[in-house]
Symmetry: C2
Subunit: 312 residues, 2 copies
């Protein structure tokens, strides 16, 4: 339109103190301008305390802001439903990112529904091999192989694995990486070397009883833990039993969380680009340029990096 007209309108608007009403805009446009972030229910732990979510969320926030979207937080609750599609039907959100998704029946139902109804969504840090959803994940298989290979290079031969629950692709990916690395090195993979926690520090701590015994018996000389929290809990538990990293066993964690740098000895771990994962998930949903750039594949796998520190 004519510059002068624009001027005139703008001036008039300023004069009467006009401010557009976002509610009316959203209504008329039939777009909420919100991107929903679905957060899992984590009992006891106040969710964000986990480094993991915090970083991803920050990444999402950065991109959402850049694209003119607001971030709507959806807290799932204990035993609460997963009617993600309803959020779209009621138009509360235009797109959504699912964090902490887990491969259980009701989650699969919810995601299938989202997909079949054509709502834009993206998973972060969880893959479903049966079904192809837009996903941003990191290469945890490679990360796990790197962790185990690192232990092998350090001369360790009896490497235990402290994994998380199998409903997370994170866990199964790591198991695969662990197994592959051992096999490649010609080392046996035995069920007795594999322990399952729940990614909490407490579960790592409690595992110290069994793992400590195995170390004492000389059947384990290193542990690869599927996240830093469990690694740290384990380290503390083992210390109480008189076992020290370095002297009695080597230890590798996963996530490169703040804690891994704080504890002593500092934890060797695998750095995951959580922030970047959040950014990409949001960009895929919101950023026209990013879409145009052809992030074709349904699954993006980001590289991870081993960070060698004192526990190895």
């Amino acid at each position: 339109m004519k510059d002068e007209t624009r001027e005139r309108v703008l001036r008039a608007a300023a004069e009467i103190g006009y401010v557009p009403n976002a509610l009316a805009q959203q209504f008329a446009r039939r777009k909420s301008g919100n991107i929903g972030v679905i957060l899992p229910f984590v009992p006891k732990v106040h969710l964000f305390s986990t480094y993991y979510f915090s970083e991803i969320l920050s990444g999402i926030g950065e991109t959402a802001k850049r694209c003119g979207y607001d971030l709507l937080l959806i807290f799932r609750e204990y035993g609460g439903g997963r009617d993600y599609a309803k959020l779209f039907r009621t138009q509360k959100i235009d797109a959504c990112i699912v964090l902490g998704s887990e491969n259980v029946p009701e989650e699969r139902v919810a995601l299938t529904e989202l997909k079949s109804e054509g709502y834009p969504f993206c998973l972060v840090n969880q893959r479903y091999d049966e079904e192809s959803y837009a996903t941003v994940d990191s290469d945890h298989m490679a990360g796990s192989m790197a962790a185990v290979n690192h232990l092998i290079e350090r001369g360790r031969r009896n490497i235990a694995f402290l994994n998380g629950p199998e409903q997370y692709s994170n866990s199964t990916d790591r198991l695969q990486g662990y197994t592959l690395a051992l096999q490649a090195a010609g080392l046996p993979v035995t069920a007795e070397q594999i322990f399952i926690g729940n990614y909490s520090r407490k579960s790592g701590y409690e595992m110290a009883e069994r793992i400590g015994k195995a170390i004492g018996d000389g059947v384990i000389d290193a542990v690869f833990a599927a996240n830093d929290r469990m690694a740290i809990g384990l380290m503390q538990g083992l210390r109480e039993r008189g076992y020290e990293t370095g002297r009695d066993y080597s230890l590798v964690g996963y996530d490169d969380s703040d804690s891994s740098r704080i504890i002593s000895p500092m934890l060797t771990t695998v750095a995951v680009p959580f922030y970047e994962m959040g950014r990409r998930a949001a960009a895929r949903l919101l950023d026209v340029e990013y879409k145009a750039a052809g992030a074709e594949g349904e699954l993006e796998l980001l590289p991870v990096r081993l960070i060698a520190r004192e526990t190895t």
Copy 2:
């Protein structure tokens, strides 16, 4: 209305798969149903990584959900404006909670505007003595006194204080508590004993040079740090210089963060009810019952608790 009518309507709605449109509801009601949470810009640190915000946010989320509100995250950006009032004018939010507020001119302007226009908002963990805003804070003066008294009881006499920037009431409150406790014990308060960091681990780490020297000179035998992150950074820095807690100095942190339990030796600290603070702030804004119960005062001060651990 008649039960039968209700039934009939509900049935018809189910039949045609009717779902209310939240956008239209919000528009017609002139209520967004959103509570905004304003997050400070923290350079470098991806905000949520801080235990502090994570906990508060979880508390807000719990209450918002209970009251039927959604949580809209507002990320401030570097150098970005603080036009909080605009969020209300555009009707994006019905109420808001300001996290990480800091006493600087432009923030005061923004808050004054909110108040003068009568928008409902609440500050968390930051007080303004000049102006009375709805606020939920913890009793950091008492917490600091408890920390310092604890050191005194342990026989320490030359207690340094590693504080944060003065634009946070947190910092000034702690300074006051520190000062009061020393005075009550008849100990001198000298400027040489007071150090200022910025609440980051790095700033604590860097302070180890000066504090280490003071310990070496025998003029300091204990440090009270205004948060755990700085305490931990300091501890690491001092360790590199050959000073160990217990043997060479005592140390008290603040926040009772996860990290305080993870490091070794475990950090004596002050527990702050962050989660509860978030809950209350939200309840004050949203919960009719809570309002009715008469949370009259503009300022709520929650109690904190000293947690004695190994560093003292």
